[in-house]
């Protein structure tokens, strides 16, 4: 690959690396590394740099790295971004992605969705740390938190993070840019090839949009040799139109497993004022909930924006839970524990869940078609809800004696 002009990628912030690359026509490779961990990792860094250059078939370049303790996947990402910028090309995600395939672990239990934390795809330090917080779902963001000029670099960071920095077995999402943005196709390619559990689509307003995205995802899955349909979709509902069409959106495609309310954009579209009490989104919350319940998928409540008001958050998330939501989007790690704890089931709920599962199990043993408990039918959603309740209890550190149906 021919480099056309000098380019820079990355920053001088902690846990990041700044790569400056120049064409070096006919002069071979010239690599300089400045690093706070040079004594321990100088050789490893050099190897990664050479590896990325070789993968792009760049044989003539002068590369200058200023490393602030970046992990290998960050160095790789910054190198890839710098080369693509210097060569004015985009990355072949489908081809580039075949070198190493991440095994998606089979979720034996129902995945919890109490908290989904947005992590900016332009911050290596936040991405490095976010895997360790107590959030159930981690959403690497390519959209609002990434400036236009960094969209390309963020794709590399997110792609490599999902593939190589998948430390604890968390449910991982990537929020791509919206269906009408110029970035959608490349975002989808990068995101699908990274193999997250799900994609989160911003500002969905119709079933048709979901179906188009699902089709594009299937195309990429096919090209990349991935299992078709393995990647789930979460749709952000953040406008009055999205609310009006919430029911159709929820049932638009088998990939859709959750709707998530976005309150800020929704209130803007309504000419409403956002308040902490949230009466202005009360209808929207219920509309999303009803859509999800009728489709049998999960409902995720809106962000509580004031990250310094944990008491306010607590009050808000109690309402979230009482209304019936399965979880809430959070924008700061300190919000995680407050939200998680609100989703801790009561003793009564746990006991009921255990009885539901016992009855369902008994039904299976006796090969009964319909199972009842206390005179009510137990259908699949009720059983799933019981499993979720026990999972939430377990996640909250509650020991569940006797029956471990989810194991």
């Amino acid at each position: 690959m021919q480099l056309k002009h000098p380019a820079v990628a990355g920053t001088l912030e902690s846990c990041d690396v700044q790569v400056t690359i120049h064409p070096n026509d006919g002069m071979g490779l010239d690599i300089h590394i400045e690093s706070i961990v040079k004594a321990q990792f100088g050789d490893a860094i050099l190897e990664t740099v050479r590896d990325v250059l070789a993968a792009f078939e760049v044989f003539d370049a002068s590369v200058y790295l200023v490393d602030k303790g970046a992990l290998d996947w960050v160095i790789r990402s910054r190198m890839q971004a710098a080369i693509c910028r210097a060569a004015d090309c985009s990355f072949d995600w489908v081809r580039g992605g075949q070198k190493k395939k991440r095994e998606i672990s089979v979720q034996q239990r129902v995945p919890l969705k109490r908290t989904s934390l947005y992590v900016s795809g332009s911050s290596p330090v936040n991405m490095t740390q976010a895997v360790f917080y107590n959030e159930d779902c981690m959403v690497y963001d390519l959209e609002d938190s990434v400036p236009i000029s960094e969209k390309d670099a963020a794709r590399f960071l997110v792609y490599n993070a999902v593939r190589d920095h998948h430390i604890l077995d968390k449910y991982v999402l990537i929020r791509i840019n919206g269906i009408y943005s110029e970035f959608i196709y490349e975002d989808l390619e990068a995101a699908v090839c990274a193999c997250p559990n799900a994609l989160r689509i911003p500002k969905v307003e119709s079933a048709d949009e979901v179906q188009r995205i699902s089709g594009m995802v299937a195309d990429i899955e096919r090209k990349a040799g991935l299992e078709i349909g393995s990647i789930e979709l979460w749709c952000n509902i953040e406008s009055y139109l999205g609310i009006i069409h919430a029911s159709e959106i929820a049932k638009a495609d088998p990939r859709v497993v959750a709707l998530a309310l976005g309150a800020e954009d929704f209130t803007a579209s309504m000419k409403a004022r956002r308040t902490k009490q949230g009466l202005e989104i009360f209808y929207a919350r219920n509309a999303v909930l009803m859509a999800c319940r009728s489709a049998g998928i999960d409902a995720i409540d809106a962000v509580f924006s004031d990250i310094n008001d944990l008491d306010g958050l607590h009050e808000d998330v109690i309402l979230t839970r009482n209304l019936g939501f399965d979880g809430k989007t959070v924008v700061h790690p300190r919000q995680i524990d407050v939200v998680n704890s609100a989703f801790t089931p009561s003793k009564k709920e746990i006991e009921y869940a255990q009885r539901v599962l016992a009855a369902a199990e008994e039904g299976k043993q006796l090969n009964k078609g319909a199972v009842t408990l206390d005179g009510s039918m137990i259908d699949k959603p009720i059983e799933l809800r019981a499993l979720t309740t026990l999972e939430q209890a377990r996640a909250a550190g509650i020991k569940i004696g006797g029956m471990n149906h989810a194991d």
Partner: protein
Amino acid sequence: MPINAVGRVLPERVGNYVIKPYQGVSNENLELPKVVSNRRPALSPTSGSKVVDTLEQAILTAGLKDGMTISFHHSFREGDLIVGQVLTACRNLGIKNLRFAPSAVVNINNPSIVDFVCDGTINRIEASGIRGELGDAVIEGLMDTPVILRPHGARPRAIEAGELEIDVAFIGASAADECGNATGQIGPNACGSLGYSFIDATSAGKVIVITDNLVDYPCVPISISQQYVDYVVKVEKIGIPEKIGAGATRMTDNPRDLMIAKRVADVIAASRLFRDGFSFQTGAGAISIACTNYLAEYMEKKNIKASFALGGITANIVDMFNKDLVRVLLCSQSFDSVAARAIAEHQNIIEIDNAVYSNKFSKGCMLDKLNFGVLPALEVDVDFNLNILTGSSGEMLGGLGGGPDVAEGADISIVTLPIIRGRTPSVVKKVFTICTPGDTVAVVVTEAGIALNPRHKYYEVLKEDLEEAGLKTVSIEYLCQLALSMTGTPKPIECTDKIVCIVEYRDGTVIDVIRQVKR
């Protein structure tokens, strides 16, 4: 060459220093050192005043000569202006080859201690830590004689045993009277407890009190008593208040550190030792401060009160005291101005001698009564050994402080650290420098999980308590593997054969040495 109880190969001697290899923490066969003192008899001056006009004059009158040992306390932290002034005076007087033996060397830059080593004023150093520029220079091979590093509890032991005989002690005080009664609790440069200098006052050949705040006789409170003081010097300025610790130490907002801190409080609250009358030491690092706050929340929620908090005291511990959550604060050091002034304001907030705080070789030290001790570390290895001195590339980053003392003394010692810092793994196979033996570490708390030490005396009990509370644990090997999977395996630090630091354990045995790093 002998191998000590933590597996380190040590030479039999380094120069004149004869190495006694570390034998383990067992109290059996412990040899009690003799207690000797360098203290000299003297009478009150006939004038009734001990005030001398200049530092030079005091130094001359005290009889400080080439090759002698001088000492300081580190309670002014990075705001200290005394060490620099005294060493400059020594240099002006042409005194050479001093042994510099402060309780700790903090990072002071103007002037730097390195300058006094380079010009020959100092040729030996013994302290609990050598932070900053000096530390880096020492690791690079600045000194001919290795620096002896001792935890807080080992210093009074070494002084009383005659291993560290102090000729002249310079004691900075934020207030003093003409007869030498002195304190750190009042005045514009108050630093709080002077606990680290008590042993110097009672053991040194000569004692010089230095203040910028000469008050009417008698200076109250009396931290350092006039009966031990030979001279008093008034200088223009002894410290920079902002750097001594202005205001209250602030809480971190790093979410990773907060999570670790919360987990530490979770562990403490889960323990059966967390009950009315329990005791704790949390320290002053970013994670420690946050941990103190979380602990206070648990105490309020469960209505549990502590009997005492020990060691370096911070504003938020004083706050707990004011809320009646802790009955007594025992301060060997005061980490901020709130804590510094609290001693004079409250009967149950007490300045304590570092020796009673941490010296195992006395008739009982207070940290043996601790239930919980929270300790920071730079590295921990799969044997739970702690490195609290050196960074990933062998640079000097910390001090021993009371770490090894607290780990052994407290029932449950809890180490806090992130598993990686940048690309540097901090849970490793072998720490670069062993400072605290793994046998004394009960719990390691990281952002990636809690690991219990199966060799610790409280292991079974803790395991049961944590399980009961629903706190998940992981193995230390898992944490190590996880860290390495993120960072890759670092290349080992290359060293020469030259020993630049000797790391003593509480009993004066050698737990490790630091060799010169090859650059």
